[in-house]
Amino acid sequence: MIESYIPIFLIIGVAAIFGVVSVNMSWLLGPQRPYREKQSTYESGVDPVSTAHYRFSVKYYMVALSFIIFDIEVVFMYPWAVRFRELGWPGFVVMLVFVVVLAVGFIYELKKGALRWD
């Protein structure tokens, strides 16, 4: 049983090694000439002031959330579209239900004005 996981362990190992090696390679090989401006947070010279916990407008989140939802929808739709013929009518109905449920959410979002920017 456990043997079948060997490829996975191999991949994990390769990934770890790749990550560690590639990050450290640049540090090892690259030239390093540190000075004050270079070490500041923003090389443009702007001083970071006030807290990093900055409050963004909720509108950004709304868009982000909508994006994720429809992104996931597409993720579901691709495999269905690939196997459309085999799944037949039952597959179609199930997909329809899925889309309708999402549509209800979308209608709610629209009506509540979540996507109105101003």
Binding site: M1, Y5, G88, W89, P90, V93, V94, V101, V104, G105, I107, Y108, L110, K111, K112
Partner: protein, 474 residues
């Protein structure tokens, strides 16, 4: 196509509740100031769905390729969640107006949460169980924080969400390990070869992670830390729904997976379960003593009750499983009632549920005090109230299966619990009336509380009828 239709029909209570929740949210989107309409649609819809659950009761079997259970156990638990949702909605009508969160989304979230609970308790495939768990939990996270302007509520929502996500991670990881070991996520499929896996460390780790996920949701020690903070911070009606519906759902699923399907009797799993049970009973009941806030006290008491029910899970066997289900039903009515009274006592700033606020309640609102008395006595487990028979059946089953020591711990902690439950009664009835305004009681609230009290009495007076429904469920 026909198969799809049949499956949908047989899982009608779940499907119906989801449709109902969608209808409510659509009304909310399309129509302004439609709270009353949504309220009535929700209630009528719930009644109809309870009807569907009763109709589906004889249709024992499974649907959707063996991933969801139908009829019997699923119907019974569905009805329990629907009743809890209905009573919560009735109680919340006046409450959410009082605390200024009278959004129709509130009802939608309760209904969707109930649908999640049903799925959670009916899933016979671990993936479906997980989907149900998440559907339920996400609704509850949102509900816990629905009172946006109150810090405590925000804090509760965030804590609940963070720790809940943490626990869900364990749950999912457990499923993954079990799948890796057995090659299936269907619990019946897993159960077929359970004897072979029972001593496999990897499978045990998977099952242990799964158990941690469950233990978190039922609020068993040491996975209980969120319970007091969340129950206290959330709007009271939400606490009521969480402590009854969510807990009942987690217990039903735990019962289905660990006791009814996986044969863990006489394995190390039993040791773990009994340790959790003892820890929950002790911590829940002892810490409840030093609470001064009734919501917080009820939170600790609910941890203690989780301990009693875990005795039933540990003991196994038909009698004990019926006992746990019985306990869930009686606990549902009792705790909804107790939190309901607290929600009426509470003021608009979501404060005023300290023990002090109950002083002399009998002289201001006699009916409310009497009902609270009934709920407290049922929680203590005084016959002929429902709470007594719940404990009684679990203890009897535990003794019959050789867990006498668990029963002894249970009885001792019940005795400890008498102290803090009766303190509320003493304050309400025997202490000088406080110079305070009588809380506003609406007819809806009264009806919901009366239904709860009536349910307690009915279940307590005719326990064998309720047990009769459970005959041969497993």
């Amino acid at each position: 196509m026909n198969q799809l239709l049949t499956d949908t029909l047989h899982t009608a209570p779940i499907m119906g509740t989801i449709v109902l929740a969608l209808v409510v949210i659509l009304i909310n989107a399309m129509k302004k100031d439609s709270l009353a309409l949504e309220y009535w649609v929700s209630l009528i819809g719930i009644a109809a769905n309870i009807g569907l659950a009763v109709w589906a009761f004889p249709l024992r079997g499974s649907a959707f390729a063996g991933t969801v259970m139908t009829g019997g156990f699923a119907s019974l638990t569905a009805a329990v969640f629907l009743v809890a949702a209905g009573l919560t909605i009735i109680l919340s009508r006046a409450y959410i107006e009082k605390i200024g969160v009278n959004f129709g989304e509130f009802f939608h979230l309760i209904l969707m949460g109930a649908a999640g609970m049903m799925t959670f308790a009916a899933g016979t495939d671990l993936v479906v169980t997980f989907v149900g768990l998440e559907l339920m939990s996400i609704c509850l996270y949102a509900l816990a924080g629905i009172s946006r302007r109150v810090h405590k509520s925000n804090e509760a929502a965030l804590k609940y969400f963070l720790l809940g996500a943490f626990a869900s991670g364990f749950f999912l990881y457990g499923i993954a390990l079990i799948y890796g070991m057995t090659g299936t996520t269907n619990i019946l499929g897993i159960a077929q070869n359970i004897a072979a896996y029972k001593s496999e460390p990897l499978f045990l780790v998977g099952a242990g992670l799964l158990l941690v996920g469950f233990a978190f949701k039922i609020g068993a020690v040491p996975f209980h830390m969120w319970v007091p903070d969340v129950y206290e911070g959330s709007p009271t009606v939400v606490s009521a729904f969480m402590s009854t519906g969510a807990k009942a759902a987690a217990f039903a699923a735990l019962l289905l997976v660990f006791t009814a399907t996986f044969d863990f009797i006489h394995s190390s799993m039993n040791t773990v379960l009994s340790v959790l049970a003892v820890a929950s009973m002790l911590v829940g009941n002892i810490v409840a003593i030093s609470q001064t806030n009734v919501k917080r006290m009820l939170a600790y008491s609910s941890i203690g009750h989780a301990g009693y029910m875990l005795i039933g899970i540990t003991a196994g066997g038909d009698v004990s499983m019926a006992g746990v289900l019985f306990y869930l039903i009686s606990y549902m009515f009792t705790n909804l009632g107790a939190f309901g009274v607290a929600s009426i006592i509470e003021n608009a700033e979501q404060q005023g549920t300290d023990l002090e606020n109950f002083r002399g309640l009998y002289y201001r609102r006699p009916l409310l005090a009497v009902l609270m008395g009934v709920f407290m006595f049922s929680l203590v487990g005084i016959p002929p109230l429902a709470g007594f028979f719940g404990k009684y059946y679990i203890f009897v089953a535990a003794i019959e299966n050789g867990y006498t020591w668990l029963t002894i711990v249970g009885v001792i902690t019940s005795m400890i619990s008498v102290y803090y439950y009766l303190r509320v009664v003493v304050l309400m009835f025997f202490q000088a009336p406080e110079e305070a305004e009588a809380p506003q009681v609406t007819s809806g609230g009264t009806i919901a509380l009366l239904v709860s009290a009536f349910g307690i009495l009915l279940v307590g007076l005719f326990p064998s009828i309720v047990l009769g429904w459970m005959g041969g469920l497993f």
